[in-house]
Amino acid sequence: MRAHLDKILALSGVAIREMYRRKDFYVVLILTVILTLALGSMNFFNEPGITGYVKEICLLLIWVFLLIIAITASARQIPSEIESATIFPLLAKPVTRSEVLLGKALGCWLATGIALVVFYTIFAILTASREHTLPVGLLIQTVLAHWTMLAIVISMTFLGSVIFAAPSSNTTICLTVIIGIMLLGRHLHKIALGLSEPTRTIVEIIYFSIPHVEIFDLRDLLIHNYPAAPWDKFGILLVYGFFYSVIFLILGCLAFNRKRLR
């Protein structure tokens, strides 16, 4: 077990280094800071202390950019190894295919976690400088929920990367599915109730089987200055996210083990 874990951690370190050598993260970070500062400097009716719109736009940028970074980075990990044939010397070493996939997925998740901390630190500084308060509990919940949501997204993208032929198609499909769930996931059951059979049952099956990534979005609580969510329910949310991530990773490992590399 320890040996497996060491191999996975070593592979994840490679994935993290690879991700931070790319310029994507720095570009979106600078873009987010510039846009937020520009918006924050706007004057509305000579009224100081308006923070809601700054928080809203900053969080929207963080969500959009991190979703894109997580999906695009995860989608290219396995296909690029196969395309450049570096997967063969890698598999010639004493590592299994599952360890390769798990290591790379862990690397992507840790790298997005580091990015997440950087982004939310900037957000916290901006908010605290304008509001003179910082809801620490809720901020921690928002970061953890966002990171758990990204774990689902990354594991889903890794599953897609061993099923779909090209990273571009995988990226498009994953982005569409995630955005679709974010927008409609919460309402699918309500929609189902207004439908006739058998469509109703089909929509209900979809509703109960998809990973509800929209629940992990705690932005509205942060924007409208609500207190932190109950920690017991928050724990259930993290377990829910962990459960779906594990399912996607198991399916990904199974598919990768059966995949013909040439």
Binding site: F44, I50, I215, F216, Y226, I236, L237
Partner: protein
Amino acid sequence: MKPQRTAIYAAVALFILSFGLACHLDAWREALGQFPKRSEGVLSAFLGESQGILAALLFIKADVYFHRGFYPSIFERTAGSGTSHMVSESHSSHEEHAHTGNDEHGHSHEGEQHCPKDFENKPLDWIDSLSRSFYPSVHIHADQTPQGVKELLPWLKLSAAFDPHRVETYTVAAFWLRSYLGKVDEAEEFLRDGLRANPGNPEILFELGRIYRENRKDNVRARNILELALANWRARSRNEKEPDTFLLQQILAHLAYIERDEKNYAKAIEYFTELKKYSPNPQGVEKQIEELRQHLEKK
């Protein structure tokens, strides 16, 4: 060398010709009057008709902030929930309610007033139940604190920037600015921006009249502005099948109160008599007229 020079001369000549032709066609197009004579700015040039949609979305965003994020989706909207409470709050005036007993929808105030955003709120399943801890699921309004009201302003200002012809944006923003934040000058300035974009608009004139009457206590200017609003409302309503009689009621009520305050009882009775025709509570208005008649007799 020579053919090259000829080609350059030809290119320059063609450029001058095409530039001249473009200027001529532009002048011809303007003379036809088929197109707007001047552009309304960069936003208008780039966004076209989508400006209106964006402005509407930003206006809804302000209403979302008014409800502190608790807002029904299109799947939860019921009849009547399309009305913005942020707007209906801004339309109401305590004085008219007290005297004529009617609110913005022409209904009497009986019991608790319900927000149009009230909607069926029982969790359907365990996912729905769990998720409610992670987004605003309690119905409260931002007007309970001045900070809450402040948060509406950026969205309203942006909405006006995208669609300067959306009159509601100016009147709603002006109401919140003067009533809750005490920013009378900013409210007046914003309304005047609205008037520049919508010359003579009776809604904006009415709101401006309210500022002069309620905040600046300048009944003379308030009367002038409200009389102009009344005249413009009448001119506009001639071409409308269903004129906005609620606005008319509000203008008439304010004019009647100004005349009453200035002790022009006969004129006040005249306005109240007209108001009685449209008011859903004619008995309340009649009571006002009787009181004024008594004042007139004493005079």
